[in-house]
């Protein structure tokens, strides 16, 4: 598959040429979901599917910022691994928009309702935090040093295989 130019990158480089591309992430959210990720509202969302993924990702991982290039890579990998991915993402975002589900309750609600969307949050969280998409023999590593579980602890630890520091630097108090 030829790599498609990511919309977010195109949008950043080309500027708002086409007015229909000026849609912002905020447009995909309700007041409730917008309140979960206030920092993300002004991010461009020129493509509804990818915009919904960014919004949902932001809600699930609870970060103050998400790397746009990483989002593109993960979206492409997830969409390739799961055929219904774009529609499922839209559906889950709609669910959150409409039912105001607390992210902390989300998995319980989906499991309780035997929702076909139940595996989705874990797939997205796993992609962002482990850098891994798919499972078993089909699993693929999309990110390692830039996976969020490395980024979140980067002030204290290096991802394994990266040198911590000079000999003995680990003897001191971590923080």
């Amino acid at each position: 598959m030829a790599p498609e130019e990511p919309d977010s990158v195109a949008a950043r480089r080309n500027g708002p040429v086409d007015p229909s591309r000026r849609r912002l992430l905020a447009g995909l959210l309700t007041a409730y979901t917008a309140s979960l990720i206030p920092w993300a509202l002004a991010q461009p969302a020129p493509h509804a599917d990818r915009g919904a993924f960014t919004a949902l990702s932001a809600i699930l991982v609870g970060r103050q910022a998400l790397d746009a290039a990483q989002a593109t890579r993960l979206y492409d990998a997830l969409a390739a691994a799961h055929p219904n991915f774009p529609a499922d993402v839209q559906a889950l975002l709609t669910l959150l928009n409409e039912r105001h589900i607390d992210p902390q309750q989300l998995q319980g609600v989906l499991d309780g309702e035997h929702s076909p969307l139940a595996p989705l949050p874990r797939q997205i969280l796993g992609a962002w935090t482990l850098g891994v998409v798919g499972s078993g023999e089909g699993a693929r590593c999309v990110a390692y040093e830039t996976a969020l579980n490395a980024v979140i602890v980067a002030d204290v630890l290096k991802p394994p295989t990266y040198a911590y520091g000079a000999y003995g630097s680990w003897a001191s108090k971590p923080l």
Partner: protein
């Protein structure tokens, strides 16, 4: 059949043990040929393969088996290479490649404690070794100087000469264990083949915390270092040479070995002396495979003991959260342990053990747990940091007694080359299980002293395996009950020696590689004495010369 190779010494297997025997013999002027089933690996590629692997907890991911020399794989699925006859699974792990399994070891390089070699006399269990700790001491020293072992004198294993290096700098997490568990439990630095300073052209450790998939910087000694040293001494390595038969002559001396190249072409290699060093599972497999009319039960097997007395070190463990931030993952993976339970009168009742603390970064496991628990939103980041800072683990390393029913046999199933796969028959007896039960009190006390919460004991009756394959070609003075003599020579074949952790008659509580190396150096000296052999070897009888 094509290609005739020949050497004074033919070594089967290029792991750390075979290669160091080869190196020593080549240094004495012998021509040495090492036949290695697997391919050559490149460190940088192994590092890249690990970083690109989707299952970071799977340390075997960067070591895919080659079709002609398979090894066991369990993740994401069992590749069915090591067949399991039960009753308890024995999921041994090893690597068939130039340099062998220590590509991904933890480099714990322990000596036994003196009483380990006399447990029958002292405690009425297991068997005594055909040699004393004092006889082993100079060979341990030689091994430690080759590997570059860092350690201190407080682990219960006496020594005549100092360690080559100071212990590796203690990670903060281990310091806190040491401070908080004293005086109830003395926490000491593990003795490790890991550099606390530049040593023999290799750098000091820089704390990549990936010692077990791969040390990217060559700060811990690996089998590949031994291979390179053997080559520098003049030994020749033939990679991708899968030995499938050892051939004897009418008198029972070994005449040649036969190997398959990956295209299944057959090659015959002759020699004066043969060293079997294909590890504790593949070596007995090869002896059994080499059965002939004269030796219908396999070579070196007049006792029927080849493959029997399989031992390892099972572990149970406790994971918990300490009440302070320790942040495992800074520095090497296995820095410290408690060594006071390695010996004692209790050995007549239950297994001794070592208590080992991991310093493996908890980030990966914690991430997996949080995903499993469905923790989303801001709570994810908060929990990840909290748990990764506090989660710790202590495990026991339990002795297993030699039992002839625990064994490696030939499976009816064959690999892609048509060679029978190994089959494991294994059980964990009450002697070991009782110790696991006893050690729970230690786990609980350790957690208490560390202000532990969220205590998670490993599942009842479940043991993790430590990959220290021992016993399958045990040494002893009695040819009726052992496979090799105290020098590693097979009782049945004058010119066939075994160098392996598999010659250890008991497993003790220590990772077994250093003992395997020490015994192999002693075997090499026995085959061909070094010009400046240390005094301790002066009494031993030597092979007069190479045929």
């Amino acid at each position: 059949m094509s290609g005739q190779l020949s050497a004074d010494i033919v070594v089967i297997g290029s792991g750390i043990i075979g290669s160091l025997a080869a190196r020593r013999l080549a240094q004495q002027g012998a021509s040495v040929l090492i036949l290695e089933a697997g391919p050559r690996l490149e460190r940088a590629r192994v590092v890249a393969a690990f970083r690109n692997s989707p299952i970071k907890g799977n340390w075997m991911a960067p070591y895919p088996p080659s079709p002609w020399a398979p090894h066991p794989i369990y993740v994401p699925q069992d590749n069915g290479y090591l067949k399991q006859a039960g009753p308890y699974p024995y999921p041994a792990e090893y690597i068939r490649a130039v340099g062998g399994t220590t590509w991904h070891w933890a480099a714990q390089a322990w000596r036994l404690v003196p009483n380990d070699v006399r447990i029958k006399s002292l405690y009425g269990v297991g068997v005594d070794w055909p040699l004393s700790y004092e006889e082993l001491d100079p060979w341990y020293q030689e091994a430690e100087e080759i590997l570059g072992v860092a350690g201190a004198d407080n682990t219960g294993s006496p020594r005549q000469h100092p360690f080559p290096m100071e212990p590796v700098a203690e990670p903060w997490s281990m310091r806190r264990f040491r401070e908080r568990l004293a005086p109830a439990y003395p926490v000491v630095a593990n003795t490790v083949a890991r550099n606390s300073r530049g040593y023999d052209g290799r750098p000091a450790c820089v704390g990549n915390n990936s010692c077990q998939p791969i040390c990217p910087v060559n700060a811990q000694y690996l089998g590949i270092n031994a291979v390179e040293a053997a080559e520098a001494a003049g030994a020749k390595v033939v990679p991708n040479a899968v030995v499938f038969r050892i051939e004897h002559d009418a008198k029972g001396r070994i005449a040649a070995v036969h190997y398959y190249a990956p295209d299944k072409s057959e090659h015959r290699v002759t020699g004066a002396t043969f060293i079997l060093a294909a590890n504790g599972i593949e070596s007995p497999k090869l002896l059994l495979l080499s059965a002939s009319d004269k030796y219908p039960n396999g070579l070196a097997n007049s006792s029927g003991m080849v493959g029997r007395h399989l031992m390892d070190h099972p572990s149970t463990s406790l994971t918990f959260y300490a009440d302070e931030e320790l942040w495992l993952g800074r520095g090497p993976q296995s820095p410290s342990s408690i060594n006071t339970l390695r010996d004692g009168a209790f050995r007549s009742q239950h297994a001794p053990y070592r208590l080992d603390f991991t310093n493996i970064s908890q980030v990966l496991n914690v991430t997996g747990d949080l995903i499993k628990e469905g923790v989303y939103g801001a709570e994810f980041e908060k929990q990840l940091r909290w748990r990764a800072a506090r989660q710790v683990n202590v495990k026991n390393v339990l002795e297993v007694l030699p039992n002839p029913d625990n064994r490696i046999t030939l499976s009816a199933e064959k690999d892609a080359m048509g060679i029978p796969k190994p089959e494991a028959h294994y059980a964990i007896d009450d002697y070991t299980r009782r110790a696991a039960e006893v050690s729970k009190a230690d786990f609980a006390r350790i957690a208490e002293l560390m202000g532990g919460t969220g205590l998670r004991y490993s599942a009842e009756g479940q043991f993790a395996n430590n990959q220290h394959i021992t016993g399958t070609m045990s040494m002893g003075n009695d040819p009726a009950s052992s496979v090799v003599d105290a020098f590693g020579r097979t009782h049945d074949h004058e010119n066939l020696f075994v160098c392996s952790t598999g010659v250890m008659p008991t497993a003790a509580t220590m990772n077994s590689t250093l003992t395997g190396v020490a015994l192999a150096l002693r075997t090499a000296e026995h085959i061909l004495p070094a010009k400046n052999a240390h005094a301790a070897t002066a009494h031993s009888s030597h092979e007069a010369s190479l045929a």
